[in-house]
């Protein structure tokens, strides 16, 4: 235990930062030697290096976390502030699965879960993480074994089926925050239920970690989470400028801190830095792509394993995804979080989540985004793996076309599993869609 604690502190405070500094130096050397490549994008964001460091360090620390500090695996929509306040190391299996997909590791890893009897028709994030638990395979070296698994159903019910399996495979307790779906407004007893469950989660986390919740610390973490969420929203809103100083595809990567280290000072520092850089780019008229002719909205999860190809292909033709319902979802909470009432406000914040609300609200949010970012087209990713996000898109497509008079493409694919998508087919559809704009 003591050795683990020393290893963890060394990784966090010395080895990790040293490796990051080394990486920074090597990158600088390489970019000095490298001739600038001709790309359809604007100059790369300087913040990217920092983002890479934060995320790499987070996974690096994680390798030494179990046995040193309590560890929780949580869903992306879980009120993880309670874990940060109790000093847990927090792992986000969804983020891990997305990383596996960008590194093209999903087919290899998910196959372990499939061989174990999990159908290929279920969410590919779930298959990837369960496959990773079974096989130990991961592109991040090692994931720390959790002391508990925490699931919040505000993004889907699927996460609960998935986390029930993780709890069985890993033989650890599962805590649940079940958030009743919102049709129209929410009801008092729904929020009371969520609040009561948060109390149960804190009790369980205290028991498992042997630590007591410090109210002041919780308030600080919650305040940071509120500020982080607002800062993230401000970064996104900067793309209302023409040209947008970054791309919607960039936002899929820069979302990582608000998802995984929400509530920490590191997260907020990062977004302050990013916001400053984006503001400067707007002042200087620098765009995320060189020649922004058309502005698009993206709906649903990214197609992680194709993100680069798709963004290059669209950028080459003057199309920029300037906003995305997916990235926006983490910016919506900012005004609901109240550090002086952390649990009550968390109940509301984590219930009023985009995917936990009815289609009327989804359409309204999409239309608002389309209007405020001045888009002239939208791509709705019909994601085989994500039924909650995809049901209703056929109607949303029609409404957007009719009410907003914009071009809309429904693009069938999968967010993580490249075996479910014929790459050429998706590319052909995107190309044909873009050609329409020349009419």
């Amino acid at each position: 235990m003591i050795t683990r604690k020393i290893q963890y502190q060394m990784a966090k405070r010395a080895v990790g930062p040293f490796l990051m500094a080394l990486d920074r130096w090597q990158s600088a050397q390489k970019s000095r030697k490298r001739k600038p490549r001709e790309t359809p994008f604007g100059p790369p964001l300087q913040s990217v290096q920092k983002l890479k460091e934060i995320m790499t360090l987070n996974y690096f620390e994680g390798r030494y976390a179990d046995g040193a500090v309590p560890v929780a695996w949580v869903t992306s929509g879980f009120p993880a502030e309670v874990f940060f306040a109790l000093g847990f190391h927090v792992v986000y299996p969804e983020n891990h699965a997305a990383l596996c997909s960008t590194r093209h590791k999903v087919p290899e890893i998910a196959e372990f879960a499939e061989r174990d009897g999990l159908s290929r028709d279920v969410c590919s994030y779930a298959r990837t993480d369960i496959g990773s638990v079974i096989s130990g395979k991961t592109p991040v070296g090692r994931l720390p074994k959790p002391d508990m698994i925490a699931c919040c159903t505000n993004i889907c019910q699927t996460v609960l089926y998935w986390y029930r399996n993780l709890a069985e495979y890993l033989n650890v307790p599962l805590v649940l925050v079940d958030t009743p779906f919102m049709y129209g407004g929410t009801r008092e007893h729904h929020l009371d239920y969520v609040s009561a469950q948060l109390g149960e989660v804190i009790e369980a986390a205290e028991r498992i970690s042997g630590r007591r919740m410090d109210a002041e610390k919780l308030a600080r973490v919650v305040e940071n989470a509120r500020d982080g969420s607002r800062l993230w929203g401000e970064c996104l809103a900067i793309s209302q400028a023409r040209p947008a100083p970054w791309t919607g595809i960039d936002t899929f990567f820069h979302i990582a801190p608000i998802v995984t280290i929400r509530g920490t000072e590191t997260c907020n520092e990062y977004y302050r830095m990013l916001k400053d850089e984006l503001t400067e780019r707007v002042k200087a008229g620098v765009g995320g792509i060189k020649n922004e002719k058309h502005r698009l909205l993206w709906d649903n999860l990214p197609i992680w394993f194709k993100v680069r190809e798709h963004s290059t292909m669209t950028a080459e033709r003057g199309f920029n995804f300037v906003c995305a319902t997916y990235s926006n979802a983490w910016a919506e909470a900012g005004d609901l979080i109240d550090p002086s009432h952390p649990l009550e406000s968390a109940a509301k914040t984590y219930t009023y989540v985009y995917l936990n609300r009815d289609l009327d609200n989804r359409l309204k949010t999409t239309v608002d985004l389309a209007k405020s970012f001045g888009v002239d087209g939208a791509v709705l990713h019909s994601d085989r793996s994500c039924k909650p996000y995809s049901v209703g898109q056929v109607d949303v497509k029609e409404r957007l076309q009719k009410d907003m008079n914009i071009r809309v493409l429904l693009l069938e694919a999968d967010h993580a599993d490249e075996r479910s998508l014929s790459g050429e087919q998706a590319e052909m559809r995107l190309l044909a869609f873009m050609e329409n704009f020349n009419d």
Partner: protein, 365 residues
């Protein structure tokens, strides 16, 4: 026949009719407020009409068919739709139909708690059921009387007890499984007292000796569609000895005998005493334990996991169930159907081969 029956319920008894999506909802409340509940599992067969394309083909057929049926105007006899909070797909449909068109009438919703029984979920369920009562009162214009609720609770507890007895002693009934299930499934749309009368008649056929011979199987899944699965199995030399269909066995509460006097509390207890179900996100280890118990208590010689294609809640439980049965050396067959009218030849052949294998105590497919 079903349509005539429903019309008569409205005409003769002045009952409101609610069409309900699957699976779990407090039926006692509907009965106590004189509402006939008609469940929508299909209808079996090809999805037709131009509404079907409004949901992607990778979503389960129960939901796509419900959309085509309702938005196609076939639910006009209903006074309201009821959406229990079963899964992501039904949740989507519960918003799609009223928000984007296909149903303009009243909508009832019942968002049951997920996961294990906890202090928070007990309190929540009481309040959610109270909210449900308020919705049904608004629909019917009637006030729920405690005495009526008590009688409804008692009636449904009797129905449960009868069904439990029938399922437990089903070996002793000289009747084909397809006929037995047809009667059990009439509870999906009959007025509970009428259903009870049919169940009583069925129970009267229980003899004191086993009437069935062959390979005893347990079936688990969401809904036994297409129903000819029973004939295929029976013709191959099997009979069903234990049931874990969400539409049947998983809705029979074992609490009937010891329900509290307070009727609302009885509804709560009944809910928490239901067998484990993926759609309520019951504890996975507990579910596997329950299934192995059901299997051995009933002397089954094989398990058929009969799932609806694209049913996520159920698909996630399959791996653990298969593993546990494999460890017990019990044969397991996994099949998927799509609420088609009839089983395909290929699927029938797999089922026949499985019966033969199970008869020899063979390994899982």
């Amino acid at each position: 026949m079903r349509k005539e029956y429903i019309d008569r319920q409205k005409r003769e008894f002045g009952r409101k009719v609610v069409i309900s999506l699957p699976i779990h909802y407090p039926k006692e409340i509907l009965t106590a407020l004189d509402v006939l509940c008609v469940e929508l599992w299909g209808p079996p067969g090809e999805i037709s009409g131009n509404q079907a394309g409004r949901i992607q083909t990778y979503v389960c057929p129960v939901v796509r068919k419900a959309l085509a049926f309702i938005a196609g105007g076939h639910a006009s006899e209903a006074d309201a739709l009821l959406f229990p909070h079963t899964c992501d797909s039904i949740q989507g449909l519960a918003s799609l139909l009223p928000d984007f068109g296909g149903w303009n009438g009243p909508v009832l919703r019942f968002i049951h708690p997920k996961g294990e029984r906890r202090a928070s979920s007990e309190v929540y369920l009481v309040r959610e059921i109270e909210a449900f009562i308020a919705q049904v009162e608004t629909l019917t214009g009637k006030k729920l009387e405690p005495a009526r609720l008590s009688s409804a609770v008692k009636l449904h507890a009797e129905i449960d007890a009868l069904k439990l007895r029938i399922l437990k002693l089903r070996r002793n009934i000289d009747m084909r499984d397809s006929e037995l299930y047809a009667i059990l499934r009439r509870g999906e749309w009959l007025w509970p007292e009428d259903h009870m009368a049919e169940l009583k008649e069925l129970a009267s056929k229980i003899s004191d000796k086993p009437q069935k011979k062959g390979v005893a199987l347990m079936l688990s899944g969401i809904v036994p569609e297409p129903m000819d699965i029973f004939d295929v199995l029976e013709n191959a030399g099997a009979f069903i000895v234990a049931d874990d269909y969400a539409a049947i066995g998983r809705r029979i509460s074992s609490s009937s005998a010891e329900l509290p006097d307070n009727p609302l509390q009885a509804v709560i207890e009944r809910y928490f005493a239901l067998p484990p179900c993926s759609t309520r996100s019951s504890d996975l280890a507990g579910r596997v334990e329950y299934l192995t118990g059901l299997y051995s208590q009933n002397g089954a010689a094989g398990l058929v996991l009969h799932n609806v294609k694209f049913c996520e809640p159920e698909m996630f439980d399959v791996a653990m169930i298969k593993k546990r049965f494999a460890a017990m050396n019990s044969p397991v067959l996994y099949v998927e159907t799509e609420l088609e009218k009839q089983l395909s030849g290929q699927l029938s052949t797999r089922l026949e081969a499985f019966v033969e294998m199970a008869s020899k105590g063979g390994e899982s497919e």
